[in-house]
Symmetry: C2
Subunit: 214 residues, 2 copies
Amino acid sequence: MIHKEGKTIVIPTAVIKRLPKYHRHLGKLLKKGVEKISSREFGEIVGVSAPQLRQDLNHFGNFGQQGYGYNVEKLYNALAKVMGIEKKSNMVLVGVGNLGQALISATDFKRRGFNLLTAFDINPRLVGMTINGIKVRDIINLDQYVKDNDINIGIIAVPEESAQDVANQLVSAGVKGIWNFAPVDLKVPKEISVENEHLTEGLLRLSFKIKGEM
Amino acid sequence: MIHKEGKTIVIPTAVIKRLPKYHRHLGKLLKKGVEKISSREFGEIVGVSAPQLRQDLNHFGNFGQQGYGYNVEKLYNALAKVMGIEKKSNMVLVGVGNLGQALISATDFKRRGFNLLTAFDINPRLVGMTINGIKVRDIINLDQYVKDNDINIGIIAVPEESAQDVANQLVSAGVKGIWNFAPVDLKVPKEISVENEHLTEGLLRLSFKIKGEM
DNA sequence: TAGATTGTTAATCGATTAACAATC
DNA sequence: TAGATTGTTAATCGATTAACAATC
């Protein structure tokens, strides 16, 4: 959903899915020092047709210029704004197992404007530890912490069995979105956004594609 | 691509994307002891309309029975076969950083029929170690190992800068598919399948959805 | 200005849903 | 048999591509 000239326009989900990729490649072009790029060239890089790229972008504004193309920096910043990155999001992580620890150490999110403030776990052996500058707290403090620290994203990296329970806690504490790594389809109120990273599903799709070739 | 009654049929990508989810929920139902299920009930569980579910399944065969529904176990096994799980896939992991270690410890894949045989890294401090029963080898041995051990999937969990190089090595060693966790769009020959887990893109989509609500 | 490339409308393609005859 | 539910065709909806006038 977006507001444009007073009207409320719904952005097609297919478009939303492609935006992060556009943003990532624009970042790379920027780093390389590329100043401008045409929809044809950029489409080739991101694997999308030129008209589709133009249509996608025009959902959010007219960022290009006829006869010239798109200014890389301007487009990069415009997309960042569209995706809400310019205003940093505070996050907490729940579940400090192997995957949780990997997420704590990931540098990619910070670069893109996401702040991981702290982590929670139920395991007393982990509680109190500091990993990569991130303190691990007891999960009984989750509710209070989320309320006190303007947290809007909760990351779930707990086992399957407890994922729904953790989601409930995050929601009632007031997060706006959940980034879920447990292989579960969470039930949440419809005003809460969920993005799933069901890794095994990717592996199964890969398997399907491989077998299809044989 | 699939062969049915002599004809070669292309399966819509939208269908392929949904199959792993179907399979996962069938597994849960099976565990719960559910014997049969109608397309209406199952569609509700997986978040898909009943006719769509029936259409999806009918790309691969007629698994249901009028007036009865679908036998859960039969459908579960049928989908496993469709996705090529019944014949186990051998995998190697490249990159034993935080994420790589998390992948080594993940139990989910093994359950679904994937064998991780070994891991490779360039870091001498890691080479020789054994993590969760998985030996870490020097990456110079990658080519030989893949050739000798009937490996068909390579997992890439190395930093962005070396991902393409690792992909090239995996391809020339003979893998059929790559499961890629580096935030890069790999260039590979078209007969090689790639499945990307670009985690940060999920987070950006989540951010977009959240800001859209506000 | 002429050439290039956008923004946007119309045409096509693919995916989803509706409807219902077939059949267990 | 009657009721339920599939498999499948036709209708609708959404997403992609083609085409071109607008314009830098």
